[in-house]
């Protein structure tokens, strides 16, 4: 991804310990290019050592993205509190005692995710965020063993983002109703 110039400048000024290609100072000024890139329109081609995974677009709930459409004018509030708006639809069931919004979401620009290092990551590369804690799953996912692959066993494969199967706010799989069992032998001989 291209490095947004204002962001880099802010980064240098803040002197934060960030990766060179993308920085997230504690609360820098809004960087419009970074927001545009966050939806995943921009591919991560420029990032050194970037691995390309053919993933579908992030499965946003309709109308929630970009986050900035509502949060643009709201002052980020880092306090843990009752959220109402997001929590009634999406209660956090993902290490909710240890974790809060801004462990993963970036306060400003709001339309990016944020690694522990401060690096900003677009939603289209959310696996880098998940991989910070779930390193073993990330490793397996990269080689096609964790998660589903479709397409061709000897050619092009379609990957899925972690969030395509796991709700990031409640990642445990939901139970399913099983389909019909097979007939018992006696039922066939009738």
């Amino acid at each position: 991804m291209r490095t947004p110039l204002p962001l880099s400048a802010a980064l240098l000024l803040a002197g934060a310990a960030c990766t060179p290609e993308q920085g997230a100072p504690p609360l820098p000024g809004q960087a419009p290019e970074a927001v545009a890139a966050a939806a995943g329109a921009d591919k991560p081609a420029g990032r050194p050592g970037a691995e390309e995974f053919p993933v579908p677009p992030p499965p946003f709930t309709e109308g929630v993205f970009p986050c900035s459409q509502c949060h643009e004018d709201l002052e980020p509030n880092l306090e843990r509190r009752e959220l109402g708006m997001h929590e009634d639809k999406q209660p956090l069931r993902h290490g909710d005692r240890e974790r809060w919004c801004f462990d993963c979401h970036n306060p400003k620009p709001r339309d990016m995710l944020r690694l522990a290092s401060g690096t900003l990551v677009p939603f289209s590369e959310s696996y880098r965020l998940c991989g910070q804690c779930h390193g073993d799953k990330y490793r397996d996912w990269k080689v096609g063993v964790h998660g589903k692959r479709t397409g061709s066993w000897n050619g092009k494969k379609q990957y899925l983002l972690c969030a395509n199967c796991h709700d990031p706010h409640a990642p445990h799989f939901k139970a399913l109703q099983p389909l019909e069992p097979p007939p018992r032998p006696a039922e066939i001989h009738d």
Binding site: G144, H146, W153, P178
Partner: protein
């Protein structure tokens, strides 16, 4: 002619020529019966009856067989059918890996398989059997339940083990077939030629995995549900009285696609690939995960591996 009169040509007063033996007589009688039966058949039926073994067909003969089947199925199902016979790909040995720590027993694979492979809808024929087992006892086939019904899976205290053909490298089913109607292909798929299967079901009793299934009645396959993309050794519609089994979706995998069960699994528990390719998913599983094969002690040498991805 009453065959009883002819049974003992050596007896006094026999009207058969002297050199005639029991063997000659039987051969001639069989030919006469076959001739009489075939005389009543359509040319297509006669051709199907006299068809050579699949592996002995020349290129031209195979093309004729396939076009005969195309026409037959197209007429029967009222939509264009294609019966292919794509040969095994070079340097390919198919293998499968299934993650027992992921499978939730939802049976989506069972029905994706039925849809892809044109199994009989009534009576139901399933190539995949999902066994429900108790976490307390672990993998124990004798203590498993294939007929579980539940509001929701996975059920508390249970895990699930889907079993289909294990595509053995030392397949007992192939060894016992008296007709040579089933064999291991060069890419490791154990296939059945439905035109040569005599329905004796020896293979079913030899298979330790319950992976072979018999068409007890004329399979019912509604034409709107039929998958017209087929392979001679795979998912082409079967007649009554033949045995069928998982073919790793030969009609898909020989074109580079994943099997249908891999693509439908909602938890990504199913992995498929080339065992000869060190970069394949199955090779990664075998080299990096805890893997076992079912009923290892029988020396069937499956190419189907169960693993714990955890």
């Amino acid at each position: 002619m009453n065959p009883k009169d002819q049974r003992e040509p050596g007896m006094a007063g026999s009207q058969l020529p002297e050199a005639s033996s029991r063997r000659d007589f039987l051969a001639r009688a069989a030919a006469a019966v076959a001739g009489a039966v075939l005389a009543n058949c359509s040319p297509e039926e006669r051709e199907a009856y006299l068809q050579k073994h699949f592996r002995e067909l020349t290129k031209d003969e195979l093309a004729r067989v396939l076009s005969r089947l195309d026409a037959d199925y197209t007429k029967r199902f009222g939509k264009p059918f294609r019966v292919g016979a794509e040969p095994a790909l070079a340097n390919t040995l198919f293998g499968y890996a299934l993650d027992l720590s992921r499978c939730i027993g939802c049976r989506r694979c069972v029905y994706a398989c039925v849809k892809e492979n044109n199994q009989s809808r009534e009576p139901k024929v399933h190539w995949i059997t999902v066994l429900e087992m108790k976490k307390e006892t672990g993998v124990d086939v004798m203590d498993s339940d294939a007929y579980y019904r539940a509001e929701q899976v996975p059920r508390e205290g249970h895990f699930y083990m889907p079993v289909a053909c294990q595509q053995c490298r030392n397949p007992a089913c192939v060894r016992v077939c008296p007709a040579g109607a089933t064999w291991s292909e060069p890419d490791g798929i154990v296939t059945v030629d439905y035109n040569w299967c005599i329905g004796c079901r020896c293979c079913m009793s030899a298979c330790p995995y319950g992976a072979r299934h018999f068409n007890w009645t004329e399979p019912k396959l509604p034409s709107e549900e039929a998958n017209p993309e087929t392979h001679y050794l795979g998912n082409r519609p079967r007649p009554r009285g033949v045995v069928e089994k998982c073919t790793f979706c030969v009609q898909r995998t020989r074109k580079g696609l994943y099997p249908a069960c891999v693509e439908v699994c909602p938890v990504g528990a199913r992995k498929f690939g080339n065992l000869l390719d060190p970069a394949s998913e199955v090779r990664y599983v075998i080299e990096n995960k805890r893997v076992f094969i079912l009923k290892e002690e029988l020396n069937t040498q499956p190419k189907f591996f169960y693993f714990y991805g955890v």
